[in-house]
Amino acid sequence: MRAVWRAARAAVRRRKVQTAVIALVALFCTATGVVSLALLDAASAPFDRAFAAQQGAHAVAAYDPVRVTDAQLTGATTGVSGMSGPFPQVVVEAENPGDIFLAGRPLTVVGRADPGGAVDRLDLWRGRWATAAGEVVLASEPHVADFDSGPQSRTTTLTVNGVTLRVVGWAFSISGSADAWVAPAQIAALHPTATQMLYRFTGDVTTREAVTARLSGVTTGLPGGALVAAQQYLTLKEKAAAEPGTYLPFLSTFGVLGLLVAMIIVGNVVSGAVVSGIRHIGVLKAIGFSPGQVVAVYLTMVTVPAVAGAVPGTVLGAFAAQPMLSDTFRGLGFGQDAGARPWVWAAGLIGVPLIVVLAALLPARRAHRLSAAEAISAGSTQRRSRGLRVQRALSGTRLPRAVGLGLGLPFARPGRTALTLATLLLGVTTVTFAGGLSGSVVRVAEIGDRSGGQIGVRPQPPALGVSSTRTDTEVEALLRGLPGTARIGVFYTHEASVAGMSEPIMINFGRGDVAALGYEAQLLDGRWMTGPDEIVAPTQLMNRRGFRLGDRITIELGGGRSTFTLVGETVRGVPGPEGLFAERAALARLDPDRKLAPADFFYQVQVTDGTSLDGYAGAVRTADPGLYAWNNTGGDEFATIVTGFSTVLSILLAAVTALGVLNTVALNALDRRRDLGMLKSIGMTPRQVLTMMVTSVAALGLAAGLLGIPIGMLAHRFIVPLAGEAASMRLPAEVMQVWHPGMLGLLALSGVAIAVAGALLPARSAARLTIAQVLHNE
């Protein structure tokens, strides 16, 4: 083994360029692979871990206590493996106007004696449980740092129905079973309207249909209409997986492309090393190396740089994934688990070197087969070349001779040419895909910008200094009177309860030019609302809540209840958390007595062409210092992350592809040292040598450009909708229409650009070859 190691070490030293190429390729591929795997793992693992630890409920059900007794509920156990409850439940509205965290929020309050139990074991992460009347435990994610710096940390009481409860603890439920818990002694005073049951089921619970079927099994023997609402754990799981899921399809695409490029380049490097080291193989065998040892030398030669690249690649990937993971899971309650797990690290450290070794095995077998005599004599005889007809035809053309010779070079080594072409093809595919992806996310952001209004205006709350004394209609009139105003939408946004769902929903009650702001134009399906009994929903909200067009949805707000028809599906909603659109008149229908303060309104303004947005915002503040106005365009974090990542990854992959080309040209120059020396000896100038070597791969780059563009476009066509699906979004057609002739022209040249960039260095060194050395080292 010592001899193998010494020979491999010498081979590594002799092939500095190839060694560096393998190390860099391994580094890049490992880094992207680790990011992809970490996200893949993160898409399900943190939720699953927390769900298992808390014995999360497969279904949280609310029953009508008028129709069903507690005894009936505890007796209904068909298909149930565990349950908690019955717990009295009521939806209340917090009466804490000065509390940013609680003000106006509808809260599901449950009376529960302790945080444990068979199902939904709460994570009471701060304080203690509410054991007496007058005490309450509030729900919040266990993000200590965020909590301490956020408004929750200042919340010490909760006032409902005129009763003030003291906050004694904070807990987190992975099942989302409640917003607040009180002792059984307290709940009666809050007049519960429902009974909560928390179930874990036996059998298949992996699909919505399966969970619904399990719940039906439980309720079969109960009185009709007893079940008033139910929430499945899959809804929460999908929500948790949505963000990492959005990144996954394209990150995986980059990862797979990177690994393919790595395999091709490594295969090319090793086969090149075998070809150029044939005499070396012969010498090794002649001095007693067994065929197996020769293969071991070649595999060690590639494993050393592969490991050298994989180690920093794994660290880089794990660190690169960290911010994405913690951003993704912030607020979901298990952010503290975000980070690449040990198996991801292990896969990074072992996976890529393993792939590199596998890619090297095939060419290394050739070294195994060659006999010593055959290997030693190779190179001293005139080689039988390939692609002769092409070379002949090219020599008869009027192309400059250096160009003709360069165009003929790829035909001399068809195997190497095929691998180089494949590398370039993947490089162009990556660049095309990344270009399309960036185009698509920019389109999504543009849709958001178009409908989001260019200027946001909100009256300042009195607590923050000068506040506006104008009513919402007066503010609207003031804005309409300002020069440059084109359209205004006025929104009152509030959370409301939806019958059948424990999680509240945001509703944007709008008036003014809401439809004309662009929301109507971005309808994916259906139509804009025409009355106070109709609502429109953004696609993401519809998918996450399982809404369908035509659904009749019952909404409760401030004690009022009203049923709406869902008539339209838009791409995006009002800036902020996704919410339903409803007419302002719908608010009066739901809760006619609601008191509205000026600070409760949000104004979206679109200005006429040529109006300076910052200037307009300044004009608003001058007109009424109590109004806060800001430029609301841009700043789409998702678009920034995706565009940034895809740009960085495609540049890296293009660089790796260029390294592959560099390797090919370096190998070609090495193989053709004698030819290059001869050409120079008969008068070929260094520039002509450079031209010849660059032309040999530029032609491949052009071919890769022409073939890679359709493949990249195809990948874009399949992957982007997948990402949309993972984010629960339907994408409008314009999001996919990102290709235009100028862009395609540039992409077609990208293959040539990558090839030329990769070829320049070895081509220059070929041009500088010392003829005397080359021709006399026979």
Binding site: Q391, I771, H776
Partner: protein
């Protein structure tokens, strides 16, 4: 074998010396390959350089051909200082004024004999048609026109060397440099190449032959330079065999 009597394109010799080396020194690290070498070659001469392996004879040829640069001294060929030329200028100079043949022929495997010869002309800007016509003339005169479409791998050693000679001559060089031209050939093929070189010299082609082969030197050269340890040990005039 046909004589090279038809090769009437050797340029007229108008200069007194075609090669002039003054105190040339070449070092490779610690090793001195050439040490204070001075010599002159006149137009029409056939000079053989001999000596044991490592004596510096190939290095000397490299200096004259501009394939390598001296560490010290001057190298003048065809009236121009090749040791001071840029790489590009050197390439153009070689293209127009020098022809080279090597021990291992150094033909391009990818091109048939005709295109190997024509290639050198095409590098000077000749169009494919005229370059091939001229290459065919040369191959014909060297007796291998019937092998014009054969690739190097299928040619015999002697045929390959004749293709190499044709390539070296296609641009009508003032000086033909030969580095062990018979070193890789069997005796019969070696004889043929010797005849060819002799014929070339007899029609006025200036030759510089680096060789181990005394028969070649005595057959083709009119002057012998013997080298030892990087120095010119002895110069003598030869009576051709």
């Amino acid at each position: 074998m046909p004589t090279a009597g038809g090769l009437r394109s050797v340029p007229a010799m108008t200069r007194e010396t075609i090669v002039r080396l003054g105190g040339v020194r070449k070092e490779y690290g610690e090793t001195v390959a050439l040490d204070d070498v001075s010599l002159e070659i006149r137009p029409g001469e056939a000079v053989a350089v001999m000596g044991p392996s490592g004596c510096g004879k190939s290095t000397l040829l490299n200096m004259i051909a501009g394939l390598d640069r001296p560490t010290g001294g001057t190298v003048e060929v065809h009236g121009e200082r090749v040791d001071e030329m840029s790489e590009t200028r050197l390439a153009l100079f070689r293209r127009h004024h020098l022809g080279m043949i090597f021990q291992f022929f150094n033909l391009l495997d990818d091109l048939p004999a005709l295109d190997n010869v024509a290639l050198a002309a095409q590098l000077t800007g000749s169009k494919p048609g005229p370059a091939r016509r001229r290459a065919l003339e040369l191959l014909d005169e060297l007796g291998i026109a019937d092998r014009r479409n054969v690739y190097p791998a299928a040619l015999s050693g002697g045929e390959r060397q004749r293709v190499a000679v044709a390539r070296a001559l296609i641009n009508r060089p003032a000086l033909l440099l030969a580095d062990e031209p018979t070193g890789a050939l069997d005796s019969r093929a070696g004889e043929q190449v010797m005849d060819l070189l002799l014929d070339l010299n007899q029609i006025g082609q200036t030759l510089l032959i680096v060789t181990h082969d005394e028969r070649l030197a005595h057959r083709c050269a009119s002057r012998l330079i013997e080298m030892s340890d990087g120095r010119v040990a002895r110069e003598s005039t030869l009576e051709r065999l």
